[in-house]
Subunit: 453 residues, 2 copies
């Protein structure tokens, strides 16, 4: 079908063009798998160590070396509620920047929860349901992940228990409301429902919580109840794999747009939206067919790649998870209360970290005010108001486009617009009011925390 003038700016796929397999990058890595370690024995963990927390199918996916894994029909069916998602060319932004770069973005904000998170939430809910799980426990920061899992568990008839970082629970009531619309139970973390929560509250009665603490609570909840398993929204290999539906769709759409990216950009907290877009393109680079660059963008307030250490560390504050090798600021790190709650994590997905170490992924960190400059510029040109997390990617994209203008180069840039900001408008208020602060993390704080690793 021909594209009439004006040139197309939006590239859609039909429902039946949605990918039916996940891409597992572990099959193509030019280095051996790096095992997770048991926190007690320091030996590589086996499937049985993870069985109290995850259904066996997800444990298998976590270590699978198969290049492609079929997406079960009921998962496809649920994903089709909003997938495939659109790919757009940001012509209005290009014009505003007067850049020679071409900017494309994959828009994941069309899911009912408003972000990419349901891509894995639905898969996890399905595999749990299939193995008889009745209830899932999880943690959430600002609430993107909790609302995605509430949406998914509701579809598959599972109960959902969400430990929500207390400061977000109090300051961002509307994501909590969303979870309740979808039938989930939400409690502020640290709570009195777990030993991990009680311990923190005993020491710090006024604790506003952190993602690391909430993970400890959700893991303990699952480990101590027979009917319950645990669900994590990022970091793990199988979670990143479930997100590769994004990049596979984007590959088809970029072909349709007659453009292939020179650089692929995404924000990183745990790493899942970035990996979901990047890995299918990275496959082509690992297989020697392209020279595409990959740029992970993190917040100055939680600079795990750019300022952390590549070492074995716990995923949580309470030292309950396996030890995984990753870029980390130390599991005791409590980031400042930046508005991009989804990026406030001390660690990084082990797959992303290893690919950084081997030179396939670059990273950059930004303070939040310059990130919101970019967010507002994007909203005023392209229309969509981005989530604060996503706005980190947009900052980097704009800087790449401005650099291209100076260089006289014409790169094609692709980024993941991982979620909209309609539940983050208070952050924009703070930006306009001039009350948004940026305080770099003291080097001494990082050094102290990583020294123990």
């Amino acid at each position: 079908m021909s594209i009439s003038a004006p040139a197309a700016t939006r590239f859609l796929l039909d429902q039946q063009e949605m990918p039916t397999r996940w891409y597992n990058i572990q099959a193509d890595l030019p280095f051996p798998p790096i095992p997770a370690l048991h926190p007690g024995t320091k030996q590589p963990i086996g499937p049985q160590d993870l069985a109290p927390l995850f259904p066996m199918e997800l444990i298998k996916q976590e270590v699978s070396q198969e290049r492609y894994i079929d997406i079960p029909e009921p998962v496809q069916d649920a994903l089709r509620i909003w997938r495939p998602t659109p790919l757009r060319r940001a012509r209005r932004l290009e014009q505003a920047l007067d850049t020679t770069a071409r900017i494309f973005y994959k828009y994941e904000g069309t899911s009912p929860a408003g972000s990419h998170k349901p891509n894995t939430a639905i898969a996890q809910a399905f595999f749990n349901k299939a193995e008889g799980t009745k209830r899932l426990s999880t943690e959430t920061g600002a609430g993107q992940w909790g609302s995605a899992l509430a949406f998914a568990t509701n579809l598959f008839g599972l109960e959902c228990m969400v430990y929500m970082v207390r400061i977000s629970y109090e300051q961002k009531p509307y994501r909590k409301s969303m979870m309740q619309v979808w039938g989930a139970k939400v409690v502020p973390s640290p709570s009195e429902l777990t030993q991990a929560g009680k311990k923190v509250r005993a020491q710090h009665p006024d604790s506003t919580g952190s993602l690391g603490i909430a993970i400890s609570e959700a893991v303990e909840d699952a480990a101590t109840r027979d009917d319950t398993k645990y669900s994590l929204g990022s970091v793990l290999n199988h979670v990143l794999m479930h997100q590769t539906i994004i990049g596979q769709e984007a590959l088809l759409q970029m072909e349709r747009a007659g453009a292939m990216p020179d650089v692929v950009v995404g924000c990183v907290g745990g790493g899942s939206n970035f990996s979901g877009l990047a890995f299918p393109f990275l496959r082509d680079r690992l297989q020697g067919r392209t020279k595409t660059r990959f740029l992970a963008v993190e917040p100055d307030a939680a600079p795990s790649i750019t300022r952390g250490k590549y070492a074995y560390d716990f995923g949580d504050t309470g030292e309950m998870t396996p030890l995984v090798k990753m870029h980390t600021l130390g599991h005791g790190f409590i980031p400042q209360g930046i508005h991009a709650g989804g990026l406030r994590y001390h660690g990084m997905a082990p797959l992303v970290s290893a690919l950084v170490e081997h030179g396939f992924i670059e990273a950059v960190a930004y303070p939040q005010r310059t990130v919101f400059d970019a967010a507002v510029q994007f909203a005023r040109t392209e229309g969509t108001i981005p989530a604060p997390e996503t706005a980190h990617a947009i900052r980097a994209v704009i800087d790449e486009a401005l650099k291209a203008k100076q260089d006289g180069s014409s790169p094609t840039i692709l980024f993941n617009l991982s979620g909209h900001g309609l539940l983050d408008l208070a952050a924009y208020d703070s930006y306009f009011a001039g009350t948004m602060s940026d305080v770099p993390v003291p080097q001494a704080q990082i050094e102290e925390l990583v020294a123990a690793l």
Copy 2:
């Protein structure tokens, strides 16, 4: 292209399939046009009477008898930021209801502002810009319209001044934030900026405002400034026409789905989202090709069609607008503070009213708790959390589907999911907390107000 199993539930159009003309139902009406009257002379108003408020092109559209009017290229280009919008089949809802009905919905929540409102906001911004307008004034209730116009004026480089009903300004800060992200100026109404506002504040210092008051302020603002025109988000003929892009797309998509609606449903405040979906289908009925039913759904708290009078009345509280013939509760009517702020209007679009009078459109009214029952059932089956306004349509659709189950009939139902509820989650909180009230409008109140008409 064939539709593979499982049966398609989402019907997309390519960007170049977006309609390039608006459908003007005035060309097909089986009754003569009903003129608006000058409030002073009671004579039909002419173009010059409206010239202080609207650009000439929109005044022409208001009375045009042409069946189709071309959509200018820059308007098409802006609409393509999110259009065409998806049409979906609500299979999960059908299953939950165990109904023999087939339920389809057109989803307008994918626009950056989250509703159908930008369809006309963009057209109005363009025609104003083309005729030299520098600034647009408007009113908004809960903020759907104000945010749409802020989005559109920003795209075309116009200033935007929004008078926002004070109670919403205070209780729903996030739509105000959205407008500010897009660069609009927002003030609570009644304000001290207009004579109309000052007059209300002098009499009622604690006034929480109403749509009728805010319209008076916005009209006065435009009428008293050379650089400013006025923009209305519903009611007027040209506004309804700009929304017909919805129904024209839906016609194509329903053809693709192999189904034609037996009944078309939409919520009505001023009438624009309902008309936008319905009029292209109504054309086929007016031309004798179908027997489709059309069902307008209003709130119990502002039942203009079901309990109002069909009479000439003002569009605003301050008696500044022309007199239009419509179903009205009287321009002094102040509806209760229901959560569906967009439906809190005393009148109805004259075209909708006339079509009701001639038997082409039916109407039904619902109290808000039963509307939210439907909203939650929809969110828990189809995923998307609907706006409170839209939930009125969903209530009626569910009732139609349940009736079909009893009748043993298998109707095809199509409704307009005119907007998402992500900025209305406080309303859901109120529903779950059991604090949502329903008090029918006293008959004496309506009788007193309409007696003067």
